[in-house]
């Protein structure tokens, strides 16, 4: 006699742990919400400081994400698809900013790209380019810290992708670039989008490297996290309001992106 097939339920243990994890992630947010002064929230968020920070955060994080794509994807491709010597060293170098405390990353950037820095002094004397106290500096700092997330995700995707599809494309008359654009990129699209989202989120939350390297100037380098830090000095309500804005932006973008991305996989 065969027992009727019972529907498999998720194990209780997994459910318990999952609930605890959700609580662990959600409670700090709730804490932040209880700290908010709702009556002044709108006024706080429409002050010039807050608006500047919002605008800069969006601009810088998007630029950093774009730069990461332009610089990171080719590197990921080289790491995944070529046999160049020293690749493991380059890979370690590429993920170094992930383990480096961001403030140290900022110091390193300053020593390298500051106006008197190793490379920075030449950039300044030859082209008049200067990063410290400029929005470009904030973008650079965010890129430095966030790009590893893209490189790692894309390289892993390229590695797990069946490389024979690229041979198929070549056999069908496609050159390297066409193959990359019409075969490789679409095939790693889910990972590319996930990596881009991660990179953007990391850039949006970047604090240490930005304040150290680019400085903390309203309207120029003062992104939301930096504004939160300063607001903590003398206006806690503003700090909470800005944090909530930061959270809201990231949640909205990540959730909508995820919906879209799952959609592209299914279709």
């Amino acid at each position: 006699m065969t027992a009727p097939q019972r529907r498999r339920r998720p194990p209780v243990f997994a459910l318990v742990v999952a609930s605890l994890t959700v609580a662990f992630l959600a409670i700090p947010l709730i804490g932040l919400l209880t700290k908010a002064s709702w009556s002044t929230l709108w006024n706080d968020l429409t002050t010039p400081v807050a608006l500047d920070a919002l605008r800069l955060s969006l601009i810088c994080s998007l630029w950093a994400t774009g730069l990461s794509l332009v610089l990171g994807v080719p590197l990921a491709w080289v790491l995944a698809r070529t046999q160049l010597p020293g690749r493991s060293l380059v890979r370690a170098l590429a993920i170094l900013p992930m383990v480096l405390p961001p403030v140290v990353g900022g110091v390193a950037l300053l020593v390298a790209f500051g106006r008197d820095g190793l490379v920075g002094k030449h950039l300044y004397s030859l082209f008049g380019i200067q990063f410290t106290f400029t929005t470009a500096g904030a973008v650079l700092a965010e890129t430095f810290v966030a790009m590893p997330f893209l490189i790692i995700t894309v390289e892993a995707a390229l590695r797990s992708m069946d490389g024979r599809y690229e041979e198929v494309a070549a056999n069908l008359g496609a050159g390297r670039w066409t193959t990359f654009r019409r075969v490789t990129l679409p095939m790693i699209a889910p990972s590319l989008i996930a990596g881009t989202a991660l990179t953007w989120a990391r850039a949006l939350g970047e604090f240490g490297a930005t304040i150290t390297f680019a400085g903390n100037i309203q309207g120029r380098t003062q992104t939301l996290p930096l504004a939160v830090y300063l607001a903590l000095q003398n206006n806690e309500a503003l700090a909470v309001a800005l944090s909530l804005a930061l959270l809201a932006i990231s949640v909205v973008v990540l959730v909508s992106l995820r919906g879209w991305w799952l959609g592209t996989i299914k279709s």
Binding site: G117, K121, T212, F213, G215, N216, I217, T221, L230
Partner: protein, 272 residues
């Protein structure tokens, strides 16, 4: 017992690293620091813009002063770059286009001077001193530094932060040692203070200006002058400034009656 600088610098490797980088950069950048004497503060017509790199504890007061200065001197623009004094020095040493440096400690100002990044002689424009902050209503009845031993947890700034070094001195002068197991170290004065206002620590030693900003979330307990230390806030133009006139005008404004009034309201002590 009381935490030694070596121990804690290992606990905070990143600050140590920053410090090392600072020293290294400072040593190589040590060149001419010819003291020029053009800091005369007449009332010339000033214009243009400057960037003031200031310690973050000055955020409130300087923002207020900046607005007032600009309306008093139409056509000028004061831009602030707030951060930790040590990071600000590093930026300046690496060529950041700052015009004025306002430091929360003489140590960082000296570092900037010895690397040749300061023009003329820095002037102290404000001072700060320490206070104990306890939970509202002072449930443990802490009324002195010695009373800190009644606390289960005391929040102090890390020794690498100016407030941490000052707190260490204060405790030494009072002959009070708090067991390391009862001490929590904050990265800066705000995180240290937050340990008390969030109820985790029973007491903290912080600057008067920060204690003043706490409001109802805590209660201040003064430290007697004999046991206390006073830290100075020096200000000076940066060597590379492209608008020395405005830089000097701003410094004069901060030192002057207007500036002092605002700084006093924020809880700072007068410079002399």
């Amino acid at each position: 017992m009381s935490s030694s600088p070596q121990q804690t610098s290992m606990r905070r490797p990143l600050i140590a690293l920053v410090a090392v980088a600072m020293v290294a950069v400072g040593a190589t950048g040590c060149s001419s620091s010819a003291a020029s004497s053009d800091t005369t503060t007449t009332q010339p017509k000033v214009g243009g813009s400057i960037t003031v790199s200031a310690a973050s504890s000055l955020t409130g007061a300087f923002n207020q002063l900046g607005t007032r200065f600009q309306s008093a001197h139409p056509g000028t623009k004061i831009t602030f770059n707030f951060g930790s004094s040590s990071a600000l020095v590093l930026q300046i040493q690496q060529g950041a286009p700052a015009d004025v440096f306002a430091s929360a400690s003489t140590k960082n100002m000296t570092a900037a001077q010895s690397s040749g990044n300061i023009k003329g002689k820095p002037v102290v424009f404000a001072r700060n001193t320490l206070e104990i902050v306890v939970k509202p209503g002072n449930p443990l009845g802490i009324t002195s530094l010695a009373g800190l031993n009644k606390a289960n947890v005391v929040a102090l700034c890390a020794p690498s932060a100016p407030c941490g070094a000052a707190a260490d001195t204060v405790l030494q002068q009072a002959g009070v040692t708090i067991p390391t197991s009862k001490v929590t170290l904050g990265a800066d004065v705000k995180t240290t203070l937050a340990q008390v206002t969030s109820g985790n620590a029973d007491a903290a030693i912080v600057y008067v200006t920060d204690a003043k900003a706490v409001g109802h979330a805590g209660e201040a307990v003064p430290i007697p002058k004999s046991q206390n230390v006073v830290t100075s806030y020096p200000i000076a133009p940066v060597t590379g400034t492209t608008n020395a006139a405005l830089a000097n005008a701003w410094i004069a404004y901060v030192i002057g009656p207007e500036g002092q009034k605002v700084l006093r309201a924020a809880g700072f002590l007068p410079p002399g």
